[in-house]
């Protein structure tokens, strides 16, 4: 019994990942370059929102500072690519390490906090981290930022798969990382760690009484979640430049909005959320373009609709579009 169980978890996660990869690949193939670029961003934000699902949805700790952790990943990758002339295929995975380290530090402080204290502290972190870029301008190049991008596909790739559009190449770069993240997240949530974290979320004291070392587990979740955020940040920065304006506070809030709208407790919800966050502005444009609204109105409409949807979701159905019950089969 005990030996067959882990196998089934890995198999389940592999099937999920393969299915997701296949569907998203077919979708991207049929899209225009513009939409392919959007799909690449969707995959990147999917990783970022997964970090919130793990942290908030599964372990119950709220963070408004995921954008800052993304910045850590983005800056470390950009610095390695520019100064050490590393390939992005090495520099991006290293962002997992740098993000995780930042999460370890943040988590050590955050494990003592809960609820609004944690939310406020992480919000301050979200504002403070980008200001470091200006403080140490010689390394981080201040407001101007570091210029990095995904470059062009290597020759063997072009020879085997044909020459992709630049947007499609962005998609190809993001896809493997998104699939690895999906696989890991799925494994984590189905495994013992996931159940331990859920028990902390549902009742900290009861969880501690069953022998869970709550503080240590909280730091652990923070580290894992930050590793996801670091990876997402590295890929997010590769769209052109890594600077304070790449990772504003609103990015943290956008990730949280996506997580809530999609469903804070499920991987499917994370993907639905990332699709909503990326495509909603276009859908709104499409819906209102016949009304000839002034630029003043249409510029702020996506933010307005996003905010209203967030409030409505929280008040009416806090579980989000994807609901949140299918993960509880393993309770």
């Amino acid at each position: 019994m005990s030996s067959s169980r882990p196998k089934s978890i890995v198999r389940k996660s592999s099937i999920r990942t393969a299915l997701f990869g296949l569907l998203i690949f077919l979708a991207a193939r049929s899209f225009e370059p513009y939409n392919q670029g959007q799909l690449a961003v969707t995959l990147i934000l999917f990783i970022g929102i997964l970090s919130i699902v793990i942290l908030t949805g599964i372990s119950g700790q709220i963070s408004l500072g995921q954008g800052a952790l993304m910045a850590v990943g983005g800056y470390s990758t950009a610095l390695m690519i520019i100064n050490l002339e590393m390939s992005l295929w090495i520099a991006v995975p290293l962002a997992i390490v740098s993000g995780g380290l930042a999460g370890l530090i943040l988590g050590t402080v955050a494990a003592r906090l809960s609820g609004p204290y944690l939310a406020g502290t992480t919000l301050v972190v979200a504002l403070a981290i980008p200001s470091i870029a200006n403080r140490f301008g010689s390394v981080f190049k201040g407001d101007e930022g570091l210029q990095v991008d995904v470059g062009y596909p290597p020759e063997w790739f072009v020879n085997t798969f044909g020459d992709p559009s630049y947007e499609m190449w962005q998609f190809y770069v993001a896809l493997p990382f998104a699939l690895i993240s999906l696989f890991f997240a799925s494994n984590l949530l189905l495994s013992r760690s996931g159940r331990v974290w859920r028990s902390i979320r549902d009742h900290e004291i009861a969880s501690a009484l069953t022998g869970v070392k709550v503080s240590r587990q909280k730091v652990f979740v923070f580290t894992i979640s930050a590793a996801f955020a670091g990876l997402a940040g590295a890929l997010y920065g590769l769209r052109g430049s890594v600077g304070p304006s790449t990772y504003p506070t609103s990015l943290s809030l956008m990730l949280l909005t996506g997580a809530i709208l999609g469903g804070i407790r499920s991987i499917a919800g994370a993907f639905i959320g990332s699709v909503l966050v990326v495509f909603l502005p276009d859908w709104i444009d499409y819906a209102v373009h016949s009304f000839e609204l002034s630029e003043q109105v249409s510029n702020y409409l996506p933010a307005l609709v996003g905010g209203i949807l967030l409030i409505l979701t929280v008040v009416i159905n806090p579980a989000g579009v994807a609901g949140g019950n299918h993960l509880h089969k393993h309770k």
Partner: protein, 303 residues
């Protein structure tokens, strides 16, 4: 020496405003158990109303009081439309965990902040605005030196002091204030002794909305108004509230002045960009050394 005196003066007038922001946060935290991250969004909104009135030729004082009233109304509106339905929700599976119950209002308040900032963009095109208060902008001269303390700063300190004194009298001496303290202490017991806790909740939102609008009005003449300028004030106010103790009104005043001095000293002795890091340092220091704040109660977590 000059810099030191200048920093002390600036710290005093800034600290008075931050005390007001922190007080607004503490009021809603005590009254409704929510840290209202939308608070300075509400203040931004009512300050925009004031600036529109001033631009259309109405007097500063009319705009001043209209904005404070608008802030109070907006606070009550948000409580009735968003926060009360949220707290009256049935215990679903998702909301049954203690951590999610405290996370959901935070997320709702961030949604409100987003909506208010976007609305300001739609209505006022997010244009930068500033307005002058009807006071002389030159600093007082003391012993032949011009101090960075204008008659407007004096006005700020006076108004804040009056507000704080009135709030203390309200809570200590009036029946409604007593009801508010009772429901902050124990919602259930307050209800059983005949206090309309819903009304008390709405009242805390109103007072908090008015106080933060006042803070917005007092901040605007020295820093221009845009939908996002007051975000910094929220962060500072939150830190001040945590420093003083999130459930203590006198604590919020102490915290406000501490933050005012810290920020003013960072401004004079380092670069303005260090403000964020200084705030983060203060916040983390307090949370590690004394997590419940200077005057905070023993434990605010309910088991």
């Amino acid at each position: 020496m000059d810099t030191l005196i200048a920093a002390l003066f600036t710290g005093t007038s800034r600290g008075a405003i931050y005390a007001l922001v922190a007080m607004g946060l503490v009021l809603v935290w005590r009254g409704a158990g929510i840290v209202n991250f939308a608070q300075m969004g509400q203040a931004m909104f009512s300050t925009y109303i004031a600036s529109t009135l001033i631009m259309n030729g109405y007097s500063y004082w009319l705009a001043f009081f209209v904005a404070i009233a608008a802030g109070a109304l907006l606070g009550v509106f948000l409580d009735l439309v968003v926060m009360r339905p949220l707290s009256n929700k049935k215990q679903t599976e998702l909301l049954s965990s203690q951590s999610m119950r405290s996370a959901v209002p935070v997320i709702a308040s961030l949604g409100i902040l987003g909506v208010l900032q976007a609305l300001a963009g739609v209505i006022w095109a997010a244009e930068e605005r500033g307005f002058q208060a009807p006071f002389a902008q030159e600093g007082y001269t003391i012993a032949g030196r011009v101090m960075p303390f204008t008659s407007f700063d004096l006005f700020v300190v006076t108004v804040v002091a009056i507000t704080l004194i009135l709030t203390v009298i309200f809570f200590k001496k009036t029946g409604v204030g007593l009801a508010m303290r009772a429901s902050a202490l124990d919602q259930e017991v307050a209800k059983l002794s005949g206090i309309r806790t819903n009304g008390v909740r709405a009242l805390s939102w109103a007072i908090s909305g008015a106080a933060s609008s006042l803070a917005g009005l007092l901040l605007t003449p020295t820093s221009n108004l845009s939908p996002y300028t007051l975000d910094l004030a929220l962060i500072i106010g939150f830190t001040a509230a945590v420093v003083g103790g999130l459930d203590s009104l006198p604590g919020s005043v102490i915290g406000g002045f501490i933050l005012g001095f810290v920020i003013s000293f960072v401004n004079y002795y380092m670069t303005p960009e260090d403000i964020y890091l200084a705030i983060l340092a203060v916040l983390i220091f307090v949370l590690v050394v004394r997590p419940r704040g200077i005057l905070g109660g023993k434990d605010t977590r309910r088991v």
